[in-house]
Symmetry: D2
Subunit: 424 residues, 4 copies
């Protein structure tokens, strides 16, 4: 289904008075209002194709209904999100879950919905039917060169799919690791991974980026071969200028200071992309901002600081993507909530008085520095985010519109109850 | 397949000289040798029916081959383990994965293999086909009394299956929890759980125990309704004398002192059962003793101390079970490794000079107390464990026998490559 | 020094227009405005006497200047805070750091400043000069009854000091624990602790409460004898109706769900008191709300829910105290920041639409429940908190007033640079 | 005091028979016995000068007695340890706690005891009397160049002390960090640290190494400027070939896989030194091997593997040091226990059949790899370690000798009860 513009307008008319009152009040104290609104309008967060269906855990999955059954329907779903929030103008495809067999047709559909193609994602953590070698013991790090070659070839194939759609980046997340002491020679696993990535890098188009993701644990429970930002950065540096580190918020050990990692990766000009989600215990893949909203704000605070320093454009300088698992809530609503939380954190970080912060830091005025950050975070910026959305034709309250118009029911009517999206 | 006694004898003959040399050397320093050997022989660890197949994570499962395709074959597998190690003389069934449709036949088969029926396990964390209500939002804690009733009825059904086989305990592990702040009223969730458990308790035969398991997180990522030993103990106390807490090693927050929990639960006479596995990060469900063998020893040290104080028989006083997930290794070998590690820890703990330890503690002689524990742990007790096994007709080195006799290949020949056991 | 009312008025006049604008805007959407303002005015958070000086770590302490050198000056400091924020109307004394040798005089001084005496705190984690027995190996849990008696007597002495001042509660935080496996018999340590606490309880006046604090680790690094809420609750239940659990936010294992603990303790009518601070790694004792403000809000959300259910008065139903360590910032400013963060979280939690939340929970509407909590948390309630303060004669922006009026410089002028407050 | 050779001989004579029996039994199965004994004899672990006194926490310190009151007595203490275990033939000095005012005399004394001078350690985490600038807000990372210069100068001074004694390495551990979001510009802090280290590096003698230590948290609780191995490696690479990373076991986030870090640092030829201790929760600084002995073994397994690959001599290839805090036990006994645990882990790792392990890894034989490591770890190697000690003239059981000969009492008699060693 395609969202009717009228539906959006009707929704906005209902909420406009209240919104305007809030926006006017809020904006009266903001000196660089236009700049912030412009930034908020430009900021787009890619939706991964696998996040449009119900997620699960190893203990089971409780399916939703009306899930998108093919790539076209997934694009439609992202189109719906984008029509509502004007900030989801990109999709990130996962191969082989979402192979664009007819790339031109897919591009055309995406174009009609205002959707671009973000990074493509390879999958060497699962075996596919008719695959020659198993990834049970890893892929790019595997001791057997034939397995490595198969995994490299798969990544090249993914690049080719991406080229046909206009993607400009390949994200490599490896499950490769070990679950028992002794299972792996850490050094050789690292070096095999490097050699494999070098082959993939060799096939990367000149204007592409290679994102090297890291993760502390799961699905292996003793070691992960690209386990932290240090290992990812080491690989990215050895690979060359097109290789970057990708940070996923849920891929760290307990209590990690992620904002510091972000800051240092930007310092090294090696931060490439970002996967948003939230977590309390492990890689919980919850809705962005649902558990630690202040951390999300602090990360944006560093992102802005580091990107501005290097003259990087906020919207295009990094690859932004949600990577969550929607086990309990409607995936589309969950994604709307994530995008909203991300934009709120971004807006709050844009509000930070950077000059004053710099001055406080230079004089070790900890109280002032803390007050400046808390002042921005405590500000209710929702009207700012809504105004940016409104100016682009989106909905003042996307979740409310989605629910009041019973969009999921419409999708179920279209697609049926028992459709299941590919993914985890 | 049934393991031929001759195969075991042949294996033992090969290793006997070396074993005897080690055993003789070791036993020369042990004052209460017979006592320890007797204890080791009596100690049996139940095998859960779901652990006989290949496990997986939410990212996928890499199947093994020759998995048991039905309950009879699962019993055979446990029979094989028991023939090898003489310490796996019980199976713990999970309903509905392993329903004993013909209880008498199953009992007869088990009896012929020397296998008893340990605690039965209910499952309200997955939906079964044709189930009236979904457990997506929980089971015993559910806001809807109809869902609670369905889950209670299922548990009563599980008790009945258990009665037909001679089980004497019901283990209730609830996935019930929440993944987002606000989702749940913690208090009402607890009280609904209590009320549901009270109904189940009401149906529990007089000579049964009810094991209330707790878990910190997963599959929910914000709260678990029975999240720690404090909550489990609260429930067990409110339920009555037949209700006990069950400890699973992987179900704690990082760095928890599990041995202290064990000690206090024994003090309160409310420790009922134990699930063995090992973990580095979360509920990793790895082979027992593969990551933190000293912790396993310290736990047994408390178990012995507390059980002896209350005159509890080591073998029958608590329900002992392995609860691991065999994602990478052959499940049967993995189980043999777990049992071996558990018995090593038990043997080491039996070696501790308790009188001297008590004296050291009474005089705050920390050095001495530490030396006493380390002395026991550093002792190579493998010959002791092997001797106990040997005296019962088991194999000196079960893993080696399993591999040299290519037992898995024999099972594949019998069962085929693509059989898949029920479970996670 | 005593803060001149004129100084506050002058400050408020400057900020009044802006404040009124914000307050008017905010209050237009709040239905139960008067109720919230009243609650905010009543809510008082006690200041511990040891938090008025510079804190330190085991690696050292970097002293501030103008610290209060005696109990009278500490009272003055709390008086200053209370004059500024009207929410710090109580002090919590620690014995023997702050012995009120002339209780009447101290009471009179406190009364003149509007300061009440909150829970008194005993100290058995340090040795005092001329003490007969050392607490090196613990106090209430000690194997030697003479040490236990000494520690019990000290607690009785503390109760007596408290009685002389009008305190109504004793907080017992025990460092008792062990740093090495084997050092302690957990069970006997628990039972010794219980017996000691029973003696103390026996001396507790009828209208007093006994707060049993727990802590996961530090200063012992293997076990703590009262290590978690389960152990504290067990003790409180065995002690009797005057005994309660006290929760300190920093005393948990990583990732603990503290709000769930709070909810269950309220359910059991055994939550007695609360120590506010914040932390990222361990018992970091940072400014409240400086690291995880959403967690603080979620805790208040449970506190309100549970207290309302039992008809407990928010202000008097529990003992509220800050327990932080001011290693880097001016202690008085740090305390103002903590109180502000606590009141913001409380105000946000008061905003939650409880009826709607209940309804969402009853229908498993996770989206709605999440939106309700986030809606309250994202609201900028600072004007609400400021208005409550203003109506009581406090300052609109206490930190700003403190800094602009160079209050610390005035204190240094009065007290000198090198005064050092007793405490950690 | 100097340990009389006769005392050692007498002790050994008592234990010799039992030792020989154990050693003979053990050695019968070891193919490369001489190699292992030789390695064990060569392996020396430096004792830090600050670990010879009683340690403490921020909550207090419970002093021991007979502590060394000056550098000469500290050397004597290390001499005692070395006479007992023949593995403590080096001391690591900390400036300004242990300034060698008369270097020649100190060198002579050390020489007479068989003690070499290991890495020297600077201290910029505490303020010293009469210091121009405070380190309250950091040292090498400080925003003020004058503070950085002071800290650089101090490090140069430490190098000079080290040169006068024959040290060949400088260890820099920085407490520099922040406790509140916003306090620090992470990037500039890193760059200031780099610039400061470059100046220090510039003054480093050609044959010296610079060890850059990292730590996750404490004494700062939000960020540490050199917080993990990735940051340390980044600095070491930017500094040059003489700069290395130093790993302290207690300086990681929960659950970190330290052995993998060690392996990768060796791969990069940037592992320089090692600080041994053990911990359960944070930087607990407990006796090595007292909590996680299997982890210690796994680390040595990687150390041997990586060092052998690069042809590094085990004894001299890395800087080995204990860095523990002896809060409860006699520091000298505690150090003996640490050295013993380290040598046991080293001996077990030397036992690993590396060829077989390599083969198992190459064929993904996880069971075999695990069995090989567990086989080595489960072996009781104490007789091997004792034999190596015996052959060098040390004691079969150093702790027992220390206690039976009441060495501490002799030290108290010499030094008095109330001497206090410098340190934490």
């Amino acid at each position: 289904m395609i969202l009717n513009k009228q539906v959006v307008d009707q929704h906005n008319n209902q909420l406009l008075d209240k919104h305007k009152r809030n926006f006017t009040h809020l904006s009266s104290d903001i000196t660089h209002l236009d700049y912030i609104l412009e930034k908020l309008q430009q900021f787009q967060i890619a939706i991964p194709s696998w996040a449009l269906g119900t997620g699960g855990t190893r203990f089971g999955r409780f399916s939703g209904a009306g899930e998108p059954g093919n790539l076209e329907q997934k694009l439609e779903d992202v189109g719906l999100l984008h029509a509502l929030n004007k900030s989801s103008g990109a999709i990130s495809l996962h191969i082989p879950w979402d192979i664009p067999t007819d790339a031109d047709k897919i591009k055309q559909l995406a174009g009609s919905l205002g959707i671009a193609f973000d990074a493509v994602n390879s999958n060497t953590f699962q075996d596919q039917p008719h695959q020659a070698y198993s990834y049970k013991h890893g892929s790019l790090h595997h001791v057997d060169p034939r397995v490595r070659k198969q995994a490299v070839d798969h990544n090249i194939e993914v690049i080719n799919y991406g080229k046909s759609l206009g993607s400009k980046a390949l994200t490599v997340w490896l499950a490769d690791g070990s679950s028992f002491p002794g299972q792996l020679n850490f050094r050789e696993a690292f070096q095999n991974t490097l050699a494999s990535l070098q082959e993939i890098y060799h096939h990367l188009p000149e204007d592409w980026k290679l994102f090297v993701e890291y993760k502390a644990f799961e699905p292996h429970f003793y070691s992960t071969t690209i386990g932290d930002w240090g290992q990812s950065l080491l690989l990215a540096n050895k690979l060359g200028p097109k290789a970057y580190t990708l940070v996923d918020l849920g891929h760290h050990l307990p209590n990690a200071n992620i904002e510091q990692i972000v800051s240092l990766l930007l310092m090294e000009k090696k931060l490439g992309g970002f996967h948003f989600n939230d977590s309390k215990y492990a890689d919980d893949d919850l809705t962005a901002g649902s558990i630690k909203p202040y951390q999300l704000f602090l990360i944006f605070n560093e992102l802005i600081d580091g990107m501005d320093l290097h003259g990087m454009d906020h919207a295009s300088g990094l690859g932004w993507m949600i990577d969550a698992s929607h086990n309990l809530k409607d995936p589309l609503i969950d994604l709307l909530q994530s995008v909203e939380a991300i934009k709120i954190a971004y807006a709050q970080a844009l509000l930070v008085d950077r000059e004053a912060l710099k001055k406080a830091q230079q004089s070790n005025d900890i109280v002032k520095a803390q007050e400046l950050l808390q002042d921005a975070f405590r500000t209710d910026v929702r009207a700012l985010v809504a105004e940016a959305r409104l100016r682009m034709g989106g909905a003042i309250d996307p979740v409310q519109l989605f629910q009041e118009n019973e969009i999921r029911s419409q999708l179920i009517a279209e697609r049926g109850v028992n459709t299941v999206a590919t993914g985890l």
